[in-house]
């Protein structure tokens, strides 16, 4: 791989990155994950870019995707501002710490940590099941004070579902951790936001998925500034990644209607398992 990286012309890698991100964008949408969680381990494992630039581009891939989706999610009621802003705030604060920590740690150790984190994410994705909620309960005191409740109407079925956030203090603590990991690796955080909102807080799954986009749009902004100022945003890496992922995601929306989501999800889990193992092996010096 090192020989290939040395012999290829400079433009071959941004071009290959664009194609890879286009393909990742196609499978990210039907798999229900943001681009960052696929992008960082795969590009870090198989492209010659230093992890700093991969993390920086990953942060921007996650941010751009979330920014493009957030207005539509909000205007169609698939995301809640009152639910997303408080959680996005704690994630934003901890993502700053995560991003700064990433620049203080040696790249090989960070690669090992990335491998472990990705394998952990695979476990979360494989284990997560939808919470359909039990009988409607009043929001906890903090959720009531922040207005984290409402009535959700499923556009597909027309079913009405009143919801109110549960276990908000625990969720806030969890979002501190999610923001830290997202900022540290430039991952985005849809993989963690959705289970946290749905399984811990009892938010309907579709509203959880939509609000996750809003949380990423606000929380990734802070970490993006750290990457920008640390010089970890290289246009020839970031721009093909963002463009490829966005174009691929447009195809992915069509695939979503035709492919079996469970099959795509299994494919993503297998890819992440391989990419996580590769990051771990690269960091440990077993496979360079």
């Amino acid at each position: 791989m090192a020989q290939l990286a040395a012999s290829a012309p400079w433009w071959a890698w941004p071009l290959a990155l664009f194609v890879a991100c286009f393909l990742l964008g196609i499978i990210a949408v039907p798999a229900g994950v943001g681009g960052g969680v696929l992008f960082v381990p795969i590009v870090a494992g198989f492209f010659p870019f230093h992890l700093d630039y991969v993390r920086g581009a990953g942060q921007l891939v996650a941010l751009s995707g979330a920014l493009v989706a957030a207005p539509r999610l909000l205007s169609t009621g698939l995301a809640s501002l009152r639910l997303g802003l408080p959680l996005g705030l704690v994630a934003a604060a901890s993502s700053i710490a995560g991003a700064l920590l990433g620049f203080a740690v040696d790249a090989a150790r960070l690669e090992v940590a990335l491998g472990i984190a990705i394998l952990g994410i695979v476990a979360v994705m494989a284990a997560a099941r939808e919470s359909r909620g039990g009988p409607q309960r009043p929001p906890d005191a903090l959720a009531a004070a922040l207005g984290m409740h409402g009535v959700f109407v499923d556009g597909a079925t027309g079913a009405t579902q009143p919801w109110s956030a549960q276990r908000t203090p625990q969720a806030i603590a969890l979002f501190v951790l999610i923001g830290l990991v997202a900022g540290l690796f430039g991952l985005g955080a849809g993989w963690a936001n959705v289970p946290a909102l749905n399984l811990l807080m009892g938010v309907p799954l579709k509203l959880a998925a939509g609000t996750s986009g809003l949380i990423i749009a606000t929380s990734s902004s802070s970490a993006a500034w750290i990457y920008l100022h640390q010089g970890a945003v290289l246009p020839v890496v970031a721009a093909p990644s963002i463009l490829g992922m966005m174009l691929g995601a447009r195809i992915g929306v069509r695939v979503l209607h035709r492919a079996r989501a469970s099959m795509v999800r299994r494919l993503v889990i297998a890819m992440l398992l391989f990419a996580g193992a590769r990051a771990l092996a690269k960091g440990m010096g077993w496979w360079n």
């Binding site: 990286a5 400079w10 433009w11 010659p48 870019f49 230093h50 700093d52 630039y53 751009s64 920014l67 493009v68 957030a70 207005p71 539509r72 909000l74 205007s75 169609t76 009621g77 698939l78 995301a79 809640s80 501002l81 802003l85 705030l89 934003a92 604060a93 700053i96 700064l100 620049f103 790249a107 004070a145 922040l146 207005g147 409402g150 009535v151 959700f152 109407v153 556009g155 009405t160 749009a217 606000t218 990734s220 902004s221 802070s222 970490a223 993006a224 500034w225 750290i226 920008l228 100022h229 010089g231 970890a232 945003v233 290289l234 246009p235 020839v236 890496v237 970031a238 721009a239 963002i242």
Partner: protein
């Protein structure tokens, strides 16, 4: 669809949609300018030396025009919260208004922390 959809949510969504459109156009123009060599100090042929080394080895990797475009995208989701503050104050939603203000503070800390 969320039934208790409020005017502040609609306003934020409209503002953010415009800000993101402007940001993406800026990003595309900045990338074209960067490829054309405008505002970039490093030749494209030298890029493999740059992208193989840590970011700290070369300082700022992005050109000034690219910094403006990415800075815009990294600011717009929080900046669009500011026009909501008078609406939230009028409606007595002090908790949400405080959270919007705190978002501005956290983003300012990120900009400051990145510079130091």
């Amino acid at each position: 669809m969320e039934l208790n959809h409020s005017p502040d949510t609609s306003r934020y969504a409209r503002l953010l949609a415009w800000a993101v459109r402007v940001g993406l156009v800026l990003l595309a123009l900045a990338f074209l300018a960067d490829i054309a060599g405008f505002g970039r100090d490093i030749a494209l042929e030298r890029m493999p030396d740059i992208w193989r080394a840590p970011a700290a080895a070369h300082g700022r990797g992005a050109s000034r025009v690219m910094l403006v475009a990415i800075g815009w995208l990294a600011t717009c989701s929080v900046a669009c919260l500011v026009p909501l503050l008078p609406i939230l104050r009028r409606r007595g939603e002090t908790a949400l208004a405080a959270i919007c203000l705190l978002h501005v503070v956290v983003l300012s800390v990120a900009v400051w922390a990145g510079l130091h």
